[in-house]
Symmetry: C2
Subunit: 329 residues, 2 copies
Amino acid sequence: MADIARMAGVSISTVSRALAGNPLIPKTLRDQIVEIARTHGYVVNQSARSLRLRKTDIIGVVIPLPHQTGRLISDPFLLEMVGRLVDEIARRGYAVLVHKVIATEPGWLERIIQSQRADGLILIGQSVEHAALNAVADTYRPMVVWGAQLPGQRYCAVGGDHLEGGRLAVAHLAGLGRERIAFFGATEAPEAAQRFEGYRRGLAEAGLTFDPALVAPVSHSLQEARDDVARFIASGPSFDAVFAFSDVIALAALEALREAGRSAPGDVAVVGFDDIMLARYGAPPLTTLRQDLEHGAQTMVDLLFRRMAGEDAPSVMAPVELIVRGSSV
Amino acid sequence: MADIARMAGVSISTVSRALAGNPLIPKTLRDQIVEIARTHGYVVNQSARSLRLRKTDIIGVVIPLPHQTGRLISDPFLLEMVGRLVDEIARRGYAVLVHKVIATEPGWLERIIQSQRADGLILIGQSVEHAALNAVADTYRPMVVWGAQLPGQRYCAVGGDHLEGGRLAVAHLAGLGRERIAFFGATEAPEAAQRFEGYRRGLAEAGLTFDPALVAPVSHSLQEARDDVARFIASGPSFDAVFAFSDVIALAALEALREAGRSAPGDVAVVGFDDIMLARYGAPPLTTLRQDLEHGAQTMVDLLFRRMAGEDAPSVMAPVELIVRGSSV
């Protein structure tokens, strides 16, 4: 900067202010200094700039993982969501800092916030971290969470209508004459609990009895889910339909059914959740509850930038849509 | 830090050195200072720390996109590669800064390097940026590129054996008695040029004549590729097999063939490249040349950390493997 100041015949602080676009420096002088800096290859050290401006031009995307699930970022749903977010954030001239964290140690979220590496944070999956998110919501505003709406929630969340999705899935299967509808997936995390509640409500509305023997706590990972479903099939309860917590679990179920010599949708009709890219290409293609990830990512980034600008952007619950394909009809 | 120094009864510089793990401060005193800092919620401002240590604990993952292709990061191959890299880099305690850049403006790579936001860079896809990469290779060591090996290359690259892959694809199709084998995809970028060269070599080895009418410059995006293939089918040249530059193009070809009333593999046998997750789930499942992305990501991260440590890690060409599935037999 001293070199540029000498060449422009001004003080170092004038150079500094000119390069920061400070309107106190006349525009012609600013342009002249910027031109000198450009032609001499002056580049801003981003750490120094961030420290000075308290601005990083980075958005953090945080993927909190409960230790035991071993859910990799290679999970198709997470990947598609990260991809959509990167597209959307890059469009606004920001880079994306991806943090994959094991969200079991107390204070993990505070440490990310206080490291000041990003101007705002998007968390994918509130997982079982509702309390941790509420704890920071009052003091840290530029944060948006992909997840369910929960009672007493003070943070900004964007997510699908999981309860309605579960209800629609079961109404669809019951409407096809299916009577022994299984639920595959965990039922504890907020999103899972709401989809499971929708499943139970759908059964009640269709006049079907809830049978705990038809609830299988299947893993979220494709390989493990296939084994879990195979074990469930082998363990014996009869079922003629499946509502799976996710498309990944539904795809695993289709494989396990095929290996066990059962046809889909003939013997067992299968419905997933998410409408990931793989859903469309399955054999058979997968009936699912569509969450519009492109729109979801746009909404999250839009709300985040409004919150970064000091606005009080509210939570959004996005509609889900039943997409009927060959795995159920 | 002044508060911690007062509580510990030491100087500010001692606190600073203790928190940085400096062995000149006795271990018991260091532990005591770290404990005081922890219980009082002292967190390092990463911008300040990065500026002081010249270390960010961040690896940059750069996706250079030629403007005209409009290839989004939602592309399945890019997504899977980014996911594998995040898994691999997170395992080493680093965060990942994703840059999506339009690599047409001169100096784009120098600006990323000189911003000093990351301790090392991985570039996915050398695209047509061979010259830009060579230009920085001599002065910037901690960089690894996913891409082809090229003559006169001075940067470190990891990638599959594209030429051999193309040759294997055509040998497989010719071995099945196919004689009019089309090539779908661009032929200019380094990886594409090598796969195309392998295609021509495979034809020659099988005693088949190269016919330029069977080369269709199909887009890389799923939707556009489907339209491009539909136009190629409508334009009339007869063909009984396809070697596609990528699985995405091969999947698009399967859809376009189905819509045109042609069966696969009956009328047209199809082979892709990459073995993305979608390949396995296609209807029919896709024959393809497998690039082991998990191994590729591990290799890139391993070479990058060796280069960050000052070693001179060489380029690696990974073998590709023909995976035969229902789209060709």
